[in-house]
């Protein structure tokens, strides 16, 4: 098969069609349409395209109709010989916005399977590839995984061209570069990297390209494949590559000097390098006023912290360090725990598992049932568990609050937080607060050593880039964020003019 694909086209049309038919054997979705040019029996043409991928309207109107009927009307009286046919068709005949020529059989086949329409002309060993793609695709809808209250409502779709166009609409500068790759031996997936020339760090761009070119795999179905193949620290529980389905977020990332990786067939776009703090920020943070944003972010950081350590802290306090609670609260918790036969560790651990089951079910279940399940899960399970003396009320409160907290920030980071939560629970269940502290220290040491495409994962906090602290827990107003983040870029790029802080007009004169 490879041999066939490496061949070049011959001058004989029949032969060429036969060749392609051999390669695309048993591909019932490929359509071969043979007809003649300008009612001239001498010049035979053949159109080959994949049903469902090519825009049928365009194929019939702009190619067949134009070549078969309209060409004679456009240039009446002129006789077109077989030798001229290709030139003529290319320059005058086709009403298609994008054409490409090739003589390689492999490229022809790829073009057909990618949705392009291939025109073969008898007597010429060159095929014309017409960019008349058009297939059913999902319309651009609200982002499902990252809903916002304020900000653009569009999200990426499965088609890479639509996705890059969404990005281009946000950044209309020649400096926005979109470079294409094709990865996957079987899938031949289109992959594109986007960055802004002069803003993105050249080293990072080079590194991304290097890592992408390294990939030798049969198929890429989602950005997740690429993520796992290019990340810095495959064993880390933390994601070192961010992904988003919001074009505005990608644009913002690029403007801060990051590189985006688009993959055809998925609405999720990867951005690198990514820092831990990114996962705690939402795109909305930059659209709402900074005072509100800062307050919300403080809450989000606290929630993230709670989602990591709250259950283990509870275990440590209830079964090791009773002196941490005020007397009145301790007595009330003691009263609740009086009926519970299990150690706090077992109780919290199993309730956390129950919560994870509910969460997973909530995602997998068909939407209409989901509602019912959450009611059953939350009310029936929780309430009956308490009544049955299986768990204490305080445990339910802790588990529920932890669960809710873990949804306040980026989903993929919250998964790693949830995993580590179990690890910390084991530690604090065996060694109390000492175990918890040791576990948190181990996580911190691990985080300090993590890098994402050469950028320390914990920057700008550690190592500290003071100017970048404007956008970590608190967000400075836009008129104060004068430069791009140094931690990603390595060099300060000016973002805006100085002195944009608005002032009221001077009254009086």
């Amino acid at each position: 098969m490879e041999l066939l694909e490496n061949q070049v086209l011959k001058k004989d049309l029949e032969n060429n069609i036969k060749l392609i038919k051999i390669i695309l054997d048993k591909c019932s979705d490929v359509i071969y349409r043979e007809f003649v040019f300008a009612q001239n029996e001498q010049i035979k043409l053949a159109l080959i395209y994949t049903d469902g991928l090519a825009d049928k309207g365009q194929v019939s109107d702009q190619i067949m109709r134009a070549l078969a009927l309209e060409v004679p009307m456009a240039v009446p009286g002129r006789v077109i010989t077989k030798a001229q046919a290709l030139e003529f068709i290319k320059e005058r005949g086709l009403c298609i916005h994008q054409i490409k020529e090739t003589n390689k059989v492999g490229e022809v086949v790829h073009a057909i399977l990618s949705g392009d329409t291939v025109l073969l002309v008898d007597g010429h060993d060159t095929a014309i590839i017409n960019g008349a793609r058009g297939w059913e695709s999902r319309p651009i809808t609200d982002p499902e995984a990252e809903p916002t209250v304020r900000g653009p409502r569009e999200s990426f779709v499965e088609s890479i061209r639509v996705n890059t166009s969404l990005l281009r609409r946000k950044i209309k500068s020649p400096k926005l570069k979109i470079e294409s790759f094709r990865i996957g031996r079987l899938s031949a997936t289109d992959v594109a990297i986007a960055y802004i020339d002069g803003v993105a760090n050249d080293q990072v761009v080079k590194e991304v390209k290097k890592r992408l070119e390294r990939i030798k795999i049969d198929a890429i179905l989602e950005t997740g494949y690429i993520e796992e193949l290019i990340e810095d620290e495959p064993w880390s529980p933390f994601p070192t590559i961010n992904h988003t389905e919001k074009p505005d977020r990608v644009a913002a990332m690029l403007l801060e000097g990051r590189v985006a990786i688009f993959v055809d067939g998925t609405p999720f776009v990867l951005t690198v390098p990514s820092l831990l703090v990114e996962f705690l920020h939402a795109s909305e943070d930059y659209y709402e006023r900074f005072i509100f944003t800062s307050a919300v972010r403080v809450i989000r950081y606290l929630a993230a912290f709670a989602s990591l350590i709250l259950p283990s802290l509870y275990i440590a306090i209830v079964s090791y360090h009773h002196e941490l609670l005020p007397t009145a609260l301790l007595l009330s918790v003691a009263a609740q725990r009086e009926r519970v036969p299990y150690p706090a560790f077992f109780e919290v651990f199993s309730m956390e598992l129950v919560f994870e089951v509910l969460r997973e079910a909530g995602i997998r279940l068909p939407r209409p049932i989901g509602q019912a399940i959450s009611i059953v899960g939350a009310l029936v399970l929780g309430d009956s568990a308490v009544r049955a003396g299986f768990v204490a009320e305080a445990t339910i409160i802790v588990v529920a609050f932890t669960g809710i907290s873990s949804f306040t920030f980026h989903y993929s980071a919250s998964i790693s937080f949830r995993l580590l939560r179990f690890f910390l629970m084991i530690l604090s269940g065996t060694l109390g607060l000492f175990g918890l502290t040791a576990g948190v220290s181990a996580i911190c040491i691990h985080l300090c050593g993590l890098r994402s495409f050469g950028v320390p994962y914990l920057s700008p906090v550690v190592p500290t880039a003071y100017s970048d602290l404007k956008d970590v827990v608190l967000r400075a107003p836009w008129w104060a964020m004068l430069t791009n983040p140094r931690s990603v870029l390595g060099n300060n790029k000016k973002r805006e003019a100085y002195g944009l802080k608005p002032t009221p007009p001077e009254s009086g004169k």
Binding site: H321, L433, F434, I445, C448, P456, V461, T464
Partner: protein, 364 residues
């Protein structure tokens, strides 16, 4: 060995502070107060003055041999044979003090926090965490330290709240203790400050070795300030009698907090800061020991020996003392002389003198 790792001056200062401070706040105030009584804070001030000279000694060595660790320049100064011997002594001291620190932490945890848990568990877990930091590299250790410094804000706040219980009159009358006792009390904080010499094992990580003088001065001053605050706090809250009788007076000081009738029982916040600080302090000494050992065997990478050295440290920390009484006695009566005279001043001073004489001879 450390060629790729670079830290900036601020990180270096914080590193030296956390290299000295964590264990100091554990047991230093009680020991100093038991010797110098009500005037222990004068001892702390004096010790800072002398400590600055220690720092200068170390920094002048580091500056004269840029890009070289303690072991490398001792070999250069004293020659191959004597250099190795000094190096081996120094490695012994590092491993010994590291296991001393590990043990100190273990004793604290098993006395004040979890008495039913065998001390070995704490020793092993602390060593594992520190080993992980050491194995991750010096930059990671420095960054972890920086992260800890960011978290320090909370601890400082808690510590500050505990100062609401102070009575200034407890410091009076001043100079009530005999001058000899005050001077004797100076040795205790000094033996901690002398630990600055450990930093010379990492000197190549500095961006610019010219700034080492500023770094050591700054860190010794800040450490001195902490000692002063720690001692003065204990004195002003418990008075000299009770303060010196306690095992971990700073811990009790935080336990005394009772603000607005609901901000109380904050002892575990200070406990956590000590545990994390302990990991860092152990990590730094551990790292220095590992660098020394890999120098001794001429290894190009220190990572393979991290765990062997760790096992030695843990084993030593288990065997080193019978119980806390022995350790306290050792820390109070033997350690200051042992480590100040031999390792913290003796060896650096020897190296400095020999290098000066050599220089003189070269220029003459």
């Amino acid at each position: 060995m450390l060629e790729k790792e670079i830290i900036d001056d601020k990180q270096a200062v914080l590193l030296i502070i956390n290299m000295i401070l964590p264990t100091a706040l554990l047991s230093l105030p009680a020991i100093t107060i038991s010797i110098a009584k009500r005037d222990a804070w004068i001892s702390a001030v004096l010790a800072t003055g002398v400590g600055l000279m220690f720092g200068r000694l170390v920094s002048s060595l580091v500056m004269n041999f840029p890009g070289k660790t303690f072991f490398e320049f001792s070999e250069e100064i004293l020659g191959r044979f004597f250099g190795k011997i000094v190096g081996i002594f120094f490695i012994w001291w590092l491993i010994h003090s590291c296991s001393e620190i590990v043990r100190e932490y273990g004793e604290f945890l098993s006395t004040a926090i979890m008495p039913d848990t065998p001390i070995t568990v704490f020793l092993v877990v602390s060593a594992i965490i520190s080993a992980y930091a050491v194995k991750s590299g010096f930059e990671v250790l420095a960054r972890f330290n920086l992260l800890f410094a960011v978290l320090m804000g909370v601890f400082v706040l808690v510590f500050a709240i505990s100062f609401l219980n102070v009575k200034f009159t407890r410091l009076l009358p001043m100079f009530d203790t005999a001058m000899t006792d005050i001077l004797k009390g100076t040795l205790v904080p000094l033996s901690w400050m002398g630990e600055v010499v450990v930093f010379s094992a990492f000197s190549p990580v500095l961006k610019n070795c010219r700034s080492v003088v500023r770094i050591t001065d700054m860190s010794i001053l800040l450490v001195g300030l902490h000692f002063f605050i720690g001692i003065v706090g204990v004195l002003m809250i418990f008075g000299p009698e009770v303060g010196s009788a306690m095992m971990y007076p700073v811990f009790n000081q935080v336990r005394m907090i009772s603000l607005a009738s609901f901000i109380e029982r904050l002892d575990y916040i200070i406990f956590m800061s000590w545990v994390i600080g302990g990991f860092i302090k152990i990590g730094i000494f551990y790292f220095a020991a590992v660098i020394g050992v890999s120098w001794m065997f001429g290894l190009s990478d220190y990572r393979p020996i991290v765990f062997p050295v760790g096992i030695i440290i843990v084993a030593l920390s288990v065997l080193i003392h019978e119980g806390i009484v022995n350790q306290l006695d050792f820390l109070m009566n033997t350690w200051p002389f042992y480590s100040i005279i031999i390792f913290e001043t003796g060896i650096p001073l020897l190296l400095w003198l020999v290098s000066q004489i050599k220089n003189r001879r070269h220029s003459a």
